[in-house]
């Protein structure tokens, strides 16, 4: 049984990671495609760093994900505090409401946001180009928020509430007690929430596709445009680097989680 289990685990990993492996191999191929692997080369990576427009797009993507995840982290944390202070029944209702957008199909979210932006932009603000960098940013903050709340809420619930009372007892106003005590307690949740939001933002294509204008295009959207033409091998190199970035972030996130669990276990003993 144990052997079977182990075999299945290995198989799952193979299935999960083979596509990435193919991509990575392709990125090192000197041939045009993975189908014609001719030799090993770093050339594709060099091409990426020489391609101004591609780097610009990557810059756009990073800009939007960093901005959106930062804003979402601040708002999401404040929102979690608000939800936490609700009565338990209300809290449950609000939590399910904030969770729904995560399961909502991206295409629905994207189109509805797009409709909203066009409506507000053209009918209410009388703009000719209602889809801009700002609509993209708002959209990203919107779909990032639930991930932050989802990560911060459990930390708030795990926290010993008497810590806040102790801080107030020692002279902190509610705001001060948040910055001096609560934030330290929920920091792991804030960090994982921020990382998750960042990765969601970085690789989002569907929603971005509907809400971005012509003046500001993110990498995934532009890559989609590339696929209509012939795929350039340097894209593979770029993907590999993106994959590694997110992979590293996820590893960091999990290590943080692990360290915290360990600390909690030690504290309990």
């Amino acid at each position: 049984m144990k052997k079977v289990n182990r075999l299945i685990t290995i198989l799952i990993f193979v299935f999960l990671y083979i596509p990435m492996l193919v991509l990575i191999v392709a990125s090192f191929s000197s041939g045009k495609d993975i189908t014609e692997f001719e030799g090993f080369t770093f050339m594709r990576y060099a091409e990426v760093f020489r391609d101004r427009s591609l780097l610009g797009l990557l810059g756009n993507s990073l800009l939007i994900s960093i901005l959106a995840s930062s804003i979402a982290t601040v708002f999401g944390t404040v929102a979690s505090l608000g939800i936490y202070s609700l009565k338990p029944r209300m809290r449950k209702t609000v939590m399910s409401l904030t969770n729904i957008p995560m399961t909502n199909p991206d295409i629905v979210t994207g189109i509805s946001l797009s409709l909203l932006f066009v409506f507000v932009g053209s009918k209410m603000l009388h703009q000719r180009n209602s889809l801009t960098f700002w609509t993209l940013l708002i959209a990203h903050v919107t779909f990032n928020l639930p991930y932050v709340i989802l990560n911060v809420m459990p930390k708030l619930q795990q926290m010993d509430h008497s810590l806040v009372e102790a801080a107030m007892d020692l002279g902190c106003t509610p705001v001060k007690s948040f910055f001096r005590v609560t934030i330290h307690e929920i920091m792991p949740g804030i960090i994982t929430g921020a990382i998750m939001a960042f990765t969601m933002s970085l690789d989002d294509f569907v929603i971005s596709y509907f809400v971005t204008g012509l003046d500001f295009i993110t990498l995934p959207v532009e890559i989609y445009n590339y696929t209509k033409k012939q795929m350039q091998p340097k894209i593979y190199a770029m993907f590999t680097m993106l994959f590694l970035l997110i992979f590293v972030l996820m590893v960091v996130m999990n290590l943080l989680q692990l360290r915290q669990d360990k600390r909690r276990k030690e504290a309990k003993q």
Partner: protein, 361 residues
């Protein structure tokens, strides 16, 4: 005080004197922690006032009260070390660095934690964490220190040590301590004044000796120590009748022929040969307790607990004499008939040991 429409505290009227060690004592759910939280400012009473030195405090938030609290589970800040935990209140008050240093070191000295300044909180034992919590509260020089069952999480021996320690600290600093506990022994040994509470009401306020010797009703008599509580009739001043006999007692001021509760502490009862006894009964069970025997004696179907160093075999016929000072008479109350009968003796002891286990967790 009402809570979700349920009345938790009712007619609490308490005065706290300066430099006093006052204990709120009662079973869980009696409202003692609620009272403490109202004083600390974490709850606002639905009716009634909280006054400090004559000033109304109802709407003053906890961070503006000259009161500090030692929380039940200490509530130490895990992200700060011992020094920073103790310094927390002083840093919030933006005191001068030099003064913070001095006061924290002085306080760590008082609670016996010199040299622990840089330790992490989770590397400390329960007793040490307790001391940090006390130091963190006291370093702010509050007028009143509130302690919410601070020793409940410690094991028995540590609890005894900390009881002495707390009393010593209170006497050294001369700060008013308001202490919440459900442990009657703790309350009696530490306090200047004990407030016995049950069902959100104060049952009795008094010095520990008075509470023990002159309980006001069956609840207090039973909660503080062991008591045999019997139905009686007060015939006249200094004369009480129960078990078909008239006894002299030291109590007066009751209405003629008023039905009363009579308390007889198990350790006040002496055995005599049956022919000399006021009452004669049969021993039904004997338990060796170390210091004494717990002997259950059946007097006409009502079982008494008697604590004595004289061994009596089970089944023996024994007599007892009651001196006037052994008898304490109380007015009837809602608790009459609920306590003080040892017919279900063993069950009651099981309950007690269960309680003891809970405390040590």
């Amino acid at each position: 005080m009402e809570f979700d429409g349920e009345r938790i505290l009712d007619g609490i009227n308490l005065y706290f004197n300066d430099h006093e060690f006052l204990t709120l004592l009662g079973p869980s759910g009696c409202g003692k922690t609620t009272t403490l939280r109202i004083i600390g400012g974490f709850l606002t009473p639905t009716s009634g006032d909280v006054l400090f030195d004559g000033k109304r405090m109802n709407d003053v938030p906890p961070y503006e009260r000259q009161v500090n609290t030692v929380f039940q589970r200490y509530a130490l800040f895990p992200h700060l070390n011992v020094f920073e935990n103790v310094a927390f209140g002083l840093r919030v008050a933006k005191l001068h660095k030099q003064e913070i240093q001095e006061r924290v070191h002085e306080m760590l000295g008082i609670v016996g934690l010199k040299g622990y300044e840089h330790r992490r909180i989770d590397s400390l034992s329960g007793g040490q964490q307790q001391r940090v919590a006390i130091a963190r509260a006291l370093v702010n020089r509050p007028k009143v220190l509130l302690l919410d069952e601070p020793l409940a999480a410690l094991d028995l021996r540590l609890r005894k040590d900390m009881q002495n320690e707390l009393k010593r600290i209170q006497q050294t600093l001369g700060i008013t301590f308001i202490y919440v506990t459900h442990d009657q022994e703790e309350a009696l040994s530490m306090s200047d004044t004990v407030v016995v509470m049950d069902k959100g009401r104060i049952q009795q306020i008094g010095r520990p000796e008075d509470i023990y010797n002159e309980p006001k009703n069956a609840f207090v008599a039973d909660f503080i120590g062991e008591s045999n509580i019997l139905d009686g009739v007060m015939l006249a001043d200094y004369k009480v009748r129960f078990f078909g006999r008239t006894f002299k007692c030291l109590d007066a001021g009751f209405a003629p022929n008023e039905p009363v509760d009579v308390v007889i502490r198990p350790e006040d009862i002496d055995f005599v040969p049956p022919e000399e006894g006021h009452l004669v009964g049969t021993v039904t069970s004997v338990t060796f307790k170390g210091l004494n025997y717990d002997i259950i004696v059946d007097f006409r179907g009502f079982k008494w607990l008697i604590q004595t160093t004289d061994h009596q075999p089970e089944g023996a016929t024994v007599g007892i004499r009651l001196n006037p000072e052994d008898i304490h008479v109380m007015h009837k109350s809602e608790y009459s008939g609920m306590f003080g009968d040892y017919s279900s003796y063993s069950a009651e002891y099981d309950e007690l040991t269960e309680d003891a286990d809970d405390e040590e967790e």
